[in-house]
């Protein structure tokens, strides 16, 4: 598959809009790296639909929540990680989608300050809703346009 460089620009515009909105709302947690990776990869996909967008947002939000809960509940980081990884494996099997970023998410609490960690589950939900809805809207528009070109 050829790399579509125009999506790099689309990605930048989308993330800057999101950062601007968060700044206006005074919300500090705009940039969550694993979500941005999935957004970037979704833009590169030739096919994208609402079901995929929903599943991506769902597994990412659940993984943020599980990661945060286990981080606060279990003192041993090693044990917490082991449980995180097993739970993520089960989660992706149940939902039936491959999103590698889901394995990265539960490790974020180890590198973020505690007050940010507590915001991760809700923050992920809000970020996912905005970004994946936008990606979906963009891809739908793109598919519509290419269909029109083909008809001409």
């Amino acid at each position: 598959m050829k790399i579509q460089y125009k999506y790099m620009l689309v990605f930048l515009v989308l993330i800057f809009v999101w950062m601007g909105l968060c700044w206006l709302a005074g919300y500090p947690l705009a940039v969550i790296p694993p979500i941005l990776v999935v957004v970037y990869e979704s833009l590169q996909k030739p096919m994208y639909n609402g079901k995929m967008a929903f599943k991506q947002g769902l597994v990412l939000t659940i993984s943020a929540t599980v990661g945060t809960l286990l981080y606060f509940a279990i003192d041993s980081w090693i044990l917490a990680t082991l449980l995180d990884m097993i739970l993520m494996l089960i989660l992706l099997r149940i939902v039936g989608i491959r999103v590698p970023a889901v394995y990265a998410f539960p490790l974020l609490p180890f590198v973020f300050p505690d007050h940010i960690v507590a915001m991760l589950p809700l923050g992920s939900l809000i970020t996912c809703v905005f970004l994946f809805t936008s990606v979906l809207a963009y891809k739908k528009m793109e598919m519509k346009r290419s269909r029109k070109v083909m008809q001409m």
Binding site: L9, L12, F16, P33, V37, E41, P100, A101, L107
Partner: protein, 153 residues
């Protein structure tokens, strides 16, 4: 699941990948340095060693190079005396330019580039950690001949 990769191989791949991820956490606990932990390494281990994601492993040298250099970019930008939003914006633009120049599509390098800015990493252990773990990821892909599977398809 791909028919070319048997259930048993998949199971073993999961066990190796998760062991690798746990090793990273163990290193950080033993050295008492949380900047060693790179969340994206977990995603890359699963995607490259278990899923054998074609787009991610096709150019093995870039498994090491792309995330390492983006980490250096993010780390350098983080040392600048500008606002947080300025740092994130500048990093994002530089990352896209860099990926464009090396013609790579390795999404996780966006995360390793942003991480030092988002977590305000200031220790060299962060950079060294990215180098070591992405190098092991690349070796794993080369050693186990995961690319050969790809070519056969």
């Amino acid at each position: 699941m791909d028919s070319t990769v048997s259930k048993k191989v998949t199971m073993i791949s999961y066990i190796i990948s998760i062991t690798f991820i746990i090793a990273m956490i163990t290193a950080s606990v033993m050295l008492k340095d949380h900047e060693i932990i790179l969340p994206e390494v977990a995603a890359m281990a699963i995607a490259m060693w278990v899923y054998r994601e074609a787009g991610w492993i096709r150019q093995p040298s870039k498994i090491f190079l792309a995330p390492s250099i983006t980490a250096v970019i993010g780390f350098a930008v983080n040392q600048l005396h500008i606002s947080y939003l300025g740092k994130v914006s500048l990093t994002l633009i530089l990352l896209m330019l860099f990926l464009r120049i090396i013609q790579s599509n390795l999404g996780p390098s966006i995360a390793t580039g942003l991480l030092p800015v988002v977590t305000n990493a200031n220790e060299w252990s962060f950079i060294i950690s990215v180098f070591i773990f992405t190098f092991i990821l690349m070796l794993g892909v080369l050693k186990f001949g995961l690319i050969k599977d790809l070519k056969r398809k």
